[in-house]
Symmetry: C2
Subunit: 217 residues, 2 copies
């Protein structure tokens, strides 16, 4: 039995690949592990069967026999620990790559998500417009530091790793904001990630859910 992941039946991003199942799909494609997908409506995500998989009623989850995991970072790390290709071989480089995984999710992504939240959930508030430049400046601080850290290298730690997978996906949420264009090495980095065959296969798979209209909520 291949592992089963969960994804939105009807993704709010209309197939742009910004939902977090994309991270798990990409990781599984990188290591060549086939998988199955259980699509969930927004209602089903908050019902008991899925809450037993995911305490916060979100996607993705990952089921492999008795093991049920949630949190895209944890799932990607689990896949990376069990297959070659997503973490460096040396112990020091491996630990560094895991540090960058946590940095992608805990340091770089939060201000990016704050911008999405402000645009989505606070767009009709009187402060909506005035807060945006503040939020964008917070993102610039992180992008500037990340840009310096990456420098002229292709990937964060040695070759492509799970750290790049999570970081590229987090940065993709800035598409259309113009912010990424201010850091040419980061734009190139994201493009480099998106050019990987495994990324493309994962992207096409999640897009097919939308274009096939398989699960209108």
């Amino acid at each position: 039995m291949p592992p089963i992941i969960t994804a939105f039946a009807s993704s709010p991003d209309r197939g742009r690949g910004l939902a977090r199942d994309m991270r798990v799909r990409w990781a599984l494609e990188e290591v060549g592990q086939p998988y199955e997908v259980r699509l969930l409506s927004f209602r089903e995500m908050k019902e008991a069967p899925h809450l037993a998989r995911h305490p916060f009623g979100q996607i993705p989850t990952y089921e492999d026999g008795d093991l049920v995991l949630f949190e895209s970072g944890a799932i990607v790390l689990h896949i990376a620990e069990r297959h070659a290709g997503l973490l460096p071989a040396g112990q020091t480089a491996r630990a560094r790559a895991i540090a960058w995984m946590f940095a992608a999710l805990g340091t770089v992504e939060p201000p990016i998500l704050d911008l999405s939240t402000a645009r989505l959930l606070e767009r009709d508030k009187p402060w909506a417009e005035a807060r945006l430049p503040i939020l964008m400046d917070r993102i610039r601080v992180r992008l500037g530091e990340l840009s310096k850290a990456l420098g002229g290298r292709d990937w964060l730690v040695d070759g492509f790793s799970a750290a790049d997978l999570l970081m590229v996906h987090a940065l993709r949420r800035l598409e259309g904001s113009g912010l990424l264009d201010e850091y040419p090495n980061l734009s190139a980095y994201v493009a480099r990630g998106q050019a990987r065959p495994a990324y493309k296969r994962a992207f096409d798979a999640q897009l097919a859910v939308f274009t096939d209209g398989a699960g209108a909520d």
Copy 2:
């Protein structure tokens, strides 16, 4: 040579133990690993020697021989992988505990940090007061889900683990907000974490930096 961690010379929380070096100190105390501390001023955190350790110019970092790590979650996981006592022995429970580590940092902590950010960085904005109830309700959503997931158990996965360490520390930032009091099992959970001898040793060590006035910035 024991590992060396970094911490604020002059913590903004005045020794309340909310800074993230507390997580690493606590983990090291749980496993009985002695460590040394390098205290940094705010200026030093953004200078080249520390940026070489931490690309985002923050604390804590962790140095052990050739290995230099950043991100408290990654450091705690690294310690947990190398010592007994912070992750369950079984592979399934171990993976679940790591998922909860990611959940603490990626799902529960962000709305809590948003409240701190609003209070600290946007307190003089015209929207400061009106936004607070919105932010508090976002935290309540997560606390409600976490409260249900924990139920009547003492810890998130089997015995005490690195997941509880990170979760308890993230929740502690709500002290004084009254939010935690709305979920008695979560209040008891945080108190249970704080009652651990290793927690107390770590807390006293970080408090001593403040009370000794070792590093006024």
